[in-house]
């Protein structure tokens, strides 16, 4: 009886480990996260736009603060009921469409439109790199990351194109772990445009690193010229 119980425990342990391993393999496979619905706790420019429209049409009175709270939820529900949509208070693709707001993806494409026609087709790619590398950063820090990519394309020790610089093996953590595949937010797109238009808060840096997490000894041999947000910037 005893060894039987032991064997059950053992097999269970093996199974848990095996399933866990399989799950782990699965979980490290990068997946793109798409933000196309807005609900309680959502924040940002699109939420602000939703609120402005709702206010404009008299569904809510509060000012557009960019945070999806109860009032917004309630107003969205009213709006949905009026427009024969499922009244769940969640602003999804259909609700956004009725509101006349393009979802993040559409907005991104539209935002890119002008520049893309002007030949800067790399705005979207640069924005993705900025988003992956520094979406928690202050805006200036995002422009700075974009500027470093731009500076590298003009530097002889790096590839000459934005794609070459961004996808250079080992150059950016966000490329290595797949975060570059996330949908860039509006802020990243704006930062990418500023960087491409020549704004460079780093004054010509070609390296940046986080002084708290950087493990490389070599990187500290680069003289630091600036500190912006969490990163320090420099060139050799």
């Amino acid at each position: 009886m005893k060894h039987r119980r032991l064997s059950i425990i053992l097999t269970s342990v093996i199974m848990i480990v095996a399933v866990g391993f399989a799950g782990f393999v699965h979980s490290i496979t990068p997946r793109a996260i798409e933000v196309s619905t807005y609900t309680w706790g959502s924040k940002g420019e699109t939420v602000r736009k939703i609120q402005q429209k709702l206010k404009q049409w008299g569904y809510m009175e509060e000012s557009a603060d960019g945070t999806y709270g109860y009032k917004t939820w309630d107003a969205v529900k009213k709006f949905q009921r009026k427009n024969n949509l499922k009244a769940d208070g969640v602003a999804g693709t259909k609700t956004l469409e009725k509101l006349g707001i393009q979802a993040t993806k559409a907005a991104a494409e539209q935002g890119q439109g002008g520049a893309a026609k002007a030949g800067n087709k790399d705005v979207r790619l640069l924005a993705a790199a900025i988003h992956g590398e520094g979406r928690g950063e202050i805006y200036l820090g995002q422009v700075a990351i974009g500027a470093v990519v731009m500076n590298r394309t003009r530097h002889p020790s790096f590839p000459n194109t934005i794609a070459g610089v961004v996808y250079q093996p080992g150059a950016f953590d966000a490329v290595k772990d797949g975060q570059i595949n996330l949908e860039p937010g509006e802020s990243s797109l704006k930062a990418a445009r500023d960087a491409m238009n020549g704004w460079d808060p780093t004054d010509g840096a070609i390296y940046y690193w986080n002084p708290v997490t950087a493990k490389s000894k070599w990187i500290w041999s680069v003289p630091i010229s600036k500190k912006i947000g969490k990163h320090v910037f420099g060139k050799k």
Binding site: G114, A118, P156
Partner: protein, 474 residues
């Protein structure tokens, strides 16, 4: 219902007595099978990646070999028209070598000098190709530089061939190790203790370029670009950080500002960098600082400014004409005289307008200033004057040798001219040339063609993209 309950109870007892081997074994077999499948997949991907790296390595070695060979051949073809094809070949081979080297997972510090060398060989060959195509003989200095380059190319080729021989002997390049330990190995080597020998390591190759000389020529990757001095500020009086803060207030308008805080200051010992004071500004009606600006420590000039206050979206927009006026007023108020708008771009409620100064009716395109205008109320939310600070000065313009009519002769007959200007334009190497600027049409597209006013050479053709939102040169 009752039957089902009984069945459940039976299963439960069987489970508690450990008689469910079949179920356990099946689940275990499935998980193991799944795990093995995943593992196999992982190996496949790994192999695929290794093959990609391996290919890039062979390509690099082959291209570098070709660079070495072509450098030897071009030495024997002394007449310009015969040289040109070899330089074209060198331009392509070196560029491909650089591209492939950049694709391998080497640590940047282990290959940066090699990458730079290859960029410059490609770039230099391109400049020499142009010279040859124009029928100009290469000077002794040009040949001297080529000999220097060849010397290094030979060393590089030799080192790469050593690695290649190792690989051909059946050794595998330790890509995984290079990715993970490249840096560690490098540090060990630096500390004096010999790093382990990693097959395929290019650290030794990179060392060959330790004493690689500065290469100056007419190309965008030439070392002179890095060494250019900012004309507007170099040697000017140094300002204090308090003076800098005053400059900020005057620049932005004091009524817009709650506080100005110094957040950074460039170490003046650093080379090839314009020393600046960085300020963060808390604007009126804001809770957090949302504007940043750099003021040069010498001369006290704003180099860039960005206002990143979140703006409420609105459907109301001022016209581009009004936006241009706002930008012009801003420049005039801050004493940038004679700035003429050239092209603009409008995206997402923001217009970026480019300005260049005029001297004797000649537009100075190198001295660019960009102004960002928010289209909701016409507020100035960005300023960028690196070009202006680097390049602006009163120029001694060369004598114009071509009349406008003569310059027109250099244009294609299919090109319909709509506007003519005179302009100084920067080439990729930042060398400036005085040109006639012809705006016009060909078929459905608009173009700008620059004809050198001294030599009649066609220096540049730009395509003008006009959409509802942007007039941009490409």
């Amino acid at each position: 219902m009752k039957k089902k309950d009984n069945q459940l109870l039976r299963w439960k007892t069987r489970l508690s007595r450990g008689h469910m081997y079949s179920v356990v074994v099946t689940i275990l077999a499935i998980t193991l099978g799944f795990g093995m499948y995943q593992y196999k997949q992982k190996l496949n991907y790994k192999q695929f990646l290794q093959n990609q790296f391996q290919e890039a390595f062979y390509e690099t070695a082959t291209y570098v070999n070709n660079v070495d060979n072509n450098l030897a051949k071009v030495r024997l073809a002394r007449k310009p028209p015969q040289c040109a094809p070899y330089f074209a070949e060198l331009w392509k081979q070196a560029s491909s070598a650089q591209e492939n080297l950049g694709r391998m997972p080497y640590n940047h510090s282990a290959v940066s000098k090699t990458l730079k060398f290859l960029s410059q060989v490609s770039d230099y060959s391109y400049a020499m190709m142009h010279k040859s195509v124009e029928g100009k003989e290469l000077t002794d200095k040009d040949w001297e530089k080529l000999d220097q380059i060849r010397n290094y190319a030979r060393k590089l080729s030799f080192e790469l061939n050593k690695v290649r021989e190792e690989v051909d002997d059946g050794n595998r390049i330790a890509w995984g190790q290079i990715e993970k330990e490249g840096e560690k190995a490098l540090e060990k080597a630096k500390e004096g203790t010999e790093g382990r020998h990693i097959v395929g390591s290019l650290t030794e190759v990179n060392k060959q370029f330790q004493d690689y000389p500065v290469l100056l020529y007419d190309g965008p990757f030439s070392d002179h670009i890095e060494r250019m001095e900012p004309r507007m500020v170099r040697g000017k009086e140094r300002i204090t950080k308090e003076q800098g803060a005053e400059i900020v207030k005057n620049f932005l308008g004091n009524d817009q500002i709650q506080t100005v805080r110094l957040v950074g200051q460039t170490d003046t010992k650093q080379r090839h960098i314009i020393p600046v004071y960085t300020y963060e500004i808390l604007l009126a009606n804001q809770k957090e600082p949302t504007l940043a600006i750099d003021i040069t420590q010498e001369g006290g000039l704003p180099i860039w400014m960005l206002n990143y206050t979140t703006r409420p979206s609105t459907d109301k927009e001022i016209s581009l004409e009004d936006a241009r006026k706002k930008a012009e007023d801003f420049l005039a108020r801050n004493k940038y005289p004679d700035m003429k708008p050239s092209y603009y771009e409008k995206v997402d409620g923001v217009a970026v307008i480019n300005f260049a100064p005029e001297q004797n009716n000649v537009i100075m395109y190198p001295d660019l200033i960009k102004v960002k205008v928010a289209m909701d109320q016409g507020e100035i939310i960005g300023f960028e004057a690196r070009g202006y600070i680097m390049m602006h000065h009163k120029r001694n313009l060369p004598q114009i040798k071509l009349t406008e009519a003569e310059a027109r002769q250099e244009l294609s007959p299919n090109f319909t001219i709509t506007k003519v200007n005179k302009a100084v334009i920067p080439l990729e190497s930042k060398r400036e040339v005085l040109c006639y600027e012809f705006k016009g049409r060909h078929e459905d597209s608009e173009f700008i063609i620059y004809i050198n006013a001294e030599s009649g050479k066609q220096e540049k053709i730009l395509q003008l993209i006009t959409t509802k939102n942007a007039v941009l040169t490409q």
